[in-house]
Amino acid sequence: MRARLPAFLAGVLLAASALPNQTSAQSLMGVRGLGILGGAAGGRASAAGNLGIGLAGVEISATDPTAGSGLAFPTISVTMQPTWGEFELGQERGDVRVTRFPLIGIAFPVAAAGGVFTAAVSGQMDQRWAGEVPRVVDIGAGVPVSDRFEADGGISVLRAGWVQRIGSSFVAGLSAGAYLGRLDQTFDRTLDSLVLGGDVRNFVQEGAWRYSGAVVTAGASAAPHRLIHLAATVEWSSDIRATPADSARGEPGTYAIPLRVLAGATGRLTPRLALNASVAYQDWSGAKGFAAGATTGAKYSFGAGLEMQVVRGARRSLPVRAGYRRLAQPFRFESADPMETVWSIGAGLNLLESEGVRRGWLDIGLERGSRSSAPLVERYWRMTASLGISQF
């Protein structure tokens, strides 16, 4: 059982990942622009209130291209993120339940070159929501209709990178990737057959788009002191193009993605306690291609948290984490800037550690978050579970 447990857990998570419609988040905040920024943090980062940059130790990260620098063996990591939430929109109340897989990554050390090859697919933007409203259309007489609109889609990033250690305390990383995604929209109108007579057919209008674009991330990390870890990245994106897909109807679109800068740091306060802080800057206010007033003026996201090793053995450890994040979403629901705040706790189980480098881990974070953009308020519980396996 000792050898088979990680494989079993991996099997469970990977099998779940094969389920359909499990890759995107769901939020009414996703009605405008390119949707809601989903984030690609793993279980450790989400529990520790980190934005995915500047955590000391071994990570497989979509946002920090240097995070895998310490890996000595091939490693795979899968993250699963179920969410249970509710929303308020004026007098309206509703529930949300969704599971996504925000990050699947691998790292492959190349000893001869002294670096690590990384590859990851991660969630970026999510556009899954629905609306259903009864109406009455006037065609001489009032005809009751039921309209349903459903959006199903999102944007992921597939990227490959290289991490190179330079000297004993400096690491540089570079990754390049592509935006991949699709948006399907369906408008389904049901007319009342009791008023019109028999043989009434629904009116269905479908639209489908494929997203494409490129993204390049350059980053560096350093340990200027044995108790301090610093990291920063710059992420450049090309415009994201939305191209009508298949035979469905839709107008093409081009959307500018602003430069994103992230920085983070971890400081070891005691042998068992570490404090991390991270910040991200991305100015959407001038982004082109979006409807007037859709993008926000909010620019900064930040997070901070603690990680404490409550159990530390020769080959295993059990850290607990807590944190807080404040996230700037790029698109407004109506006219108010959205803001998301998240409190989090979590724990990890480092199944096998050697010389401070973990080779197998299970990280779980539990978050209580709320995001608002008046008149919409959403609250959620979110669990993030990451499994990492080395020497597979």
Partner: protein, 442 residues
């Protein structure tokens, strides 16, 4: 439980709980496109052509049941006051008497008794109390038919009307029969009447040396048209196994039909017709709706002209204006008609027809719509047809036919038929469309 097992259990529980998804679904009006719905009524010239009427489908013997009528509708047609009323009579021939019956003997055991004594008989007739037209109690007469007749070809004039050997009745309307008995049917008393048959006649009909051609039921009260639901002969029978018991045994019918006079008049100019026995069908060609340049409400919302696609058609209804048929054949009960595509228009009137567009039950038409002054708009849903024309194929992938036939459901359905206007410019068939578009016209 070890720590690893607990972790594994938690992981499995998380995965299992995450498998149910629920989209955030809002009822906020502003989040959902408004959509556009317009009603368009196309005149006949913009969708139809070549409307014609074909008759002669089916026979009275295929109808089942029957009719009896006496001077029904005489002198009530404004356009033909001299038209005589409808005479109709129902004929039925019987097979042999029952050869055996299951009888409970004196010991209480059920056995087959093949030694039966037929004492007397009763002819029964059951009527459709809704569809029958009678000013009051109706006199009925039952006759024994003297002439041999053929159920599939018998008409008012001919007992046998085959192409090579037509044989007229000895007198029109079923020959010169011998009266068996009379009865009076009163709707208020029930739906059935009985006419007694004495033992001598029952024995005579059983004599194979004597030709028994069946019975004929006719009405004697002027202004009546009754629709039969059943007509038959039942025998009062004494079984040998239990002589103290009387059985009421039915004699199986060998053949039945009804004959009537005069035949339905041919369609008048400008008349489309559906129904009757033999049945009439109305056939017309239809074309897919052209690009729309109106109504103003549509062009205000989307750029005109608008190209209509099949998905835009939420509803299509063929509108027909009712017309008063000949009084003798005017409907007295709901009639159901349907629309079918004509699969091989070149072979009309014998072209095979496609499946019904209007479903199994068809479109039900109220009789009062065809009473003077008529002019009611009858709308038959044809959404599938119009969408098929726009898509150039039917739902099962076949190429859509551009000819359709209007016919009665389960043809021939009734002696009655319905008429519609076909040439009056203000009352020609129309096509009503309910079209849906998204904002922007897609």
């Amino acid at each position: 439980m070890t720590l690893r097992s607990a972790v594994a259990a938690i992981a499995v529980a998380v995965v299992a709980s995450a498998c149910q998804e629920q989209l955030p679904t809002s009822a906020r009006d502003t989040l959902i496109p408004a959509g556009i719905v317009v009603e368009v009524v196309l005149p006949f010239d913009e969708f139809g052509s070549d409307l014609r009427v074909y008759g002669g489908f089916g026979r009275t013997s295929e109808r089942g049941g029957g009719f009896v009528a006496h001077e029904f509708g005489a002198g009530t047609d404004p356009d033909a006051p001299a038209r005589p009323g409808l005479q109709a009579t129902t004929l039925i021939g019987f097979g042999g008497y029952p050869a055996s019956a299951s009888v409970r003997d004196t010991a209480g055991t059920t056995r087959t008794d093949s030694s039966l004594t037929f004492l007397s008989g009763r002819i029964y007739a059951a009527f459709d109390t809704v569809g029958s037209v009678a000013p009051g109690p109706v006199g009925l007469v039952v006759h024994e038919i003297a002439d041999p007749w053929d159920r599939t070809t018998a008409t008012w004039e001919f007992a046998v009307d085959t192409a090579g050997d037509p044989t007229p009745w000895s007198a029109p309307g079923g020959g010169s029969p011998q009266e068996i008995g009379r009865a009076t049917w009163d709707r208020a008393q029930g739906d059935s009447v009985f006419v007694s048959v004495d033992s001598a006649l029952v024995h005579a009909w059983a004599d194979t040396a004597r030709d028994f051609h069946g019975i004929r039921l006719e009405a004697s009260t002027p202004g009546t048209r009754l629709e039969l639901r059943g007509l038959g002969l039942r025998l009062q029978t004494r079984p040998s196994l239990n002589p103290d018991t009387l059985l009421d045994l039915a004699v199986s019918a060998r053949s039945s039909t009804f004959i009537y006079d005069p035949p339905a008049p041919p369609p008048a100019p400008g008349e489309a017709r559906v129904g009757g026995v033999p049945a009439w069908r109305t056939v017309l060609n239809v074309a897919e709706p052209a690009d729309l340049n109106g109504p103003p409400s549509l062009c205000a919302a989307v750029p005109c002209p608008v190209r209509i696609e099949d998905r835009h058609v939420s509803y299509a209804g063929l509108q027909l204006f009712s017309r008063v048929p000949a009084a003798a054949y005017a409907p007295s009960d709901t009639l159901a008609i349907e629309v079918r595509t004509v699969l091989a228009p070149a072979f009309l009137p014998k072209s095979p027809l496609g499946p019904s567009i209007t479903g199994l039950t068809g479109e039900r038409l109220a009789p009062e719509w065809f009473a003077p002054p008529a002019g009611e708009v009858v709308e038959i849903p044809v959404t599938g047809l119009v969408r098929g024309l726009l898509n150039e194929e039917t739902s099962d992938g076949a190429r859509a036919s551009r000819a359709i036939a209007l016919l009665s459901v389960l043809e021939p359905l009734s002696l009655e038929y319905v008429s519609f206007e076909s040439e009056d410019p203000a009352r020609r068939p129309r096509l009503r469309l309910i079209l849906s578009f998204s904002e922007g016209g897609g």
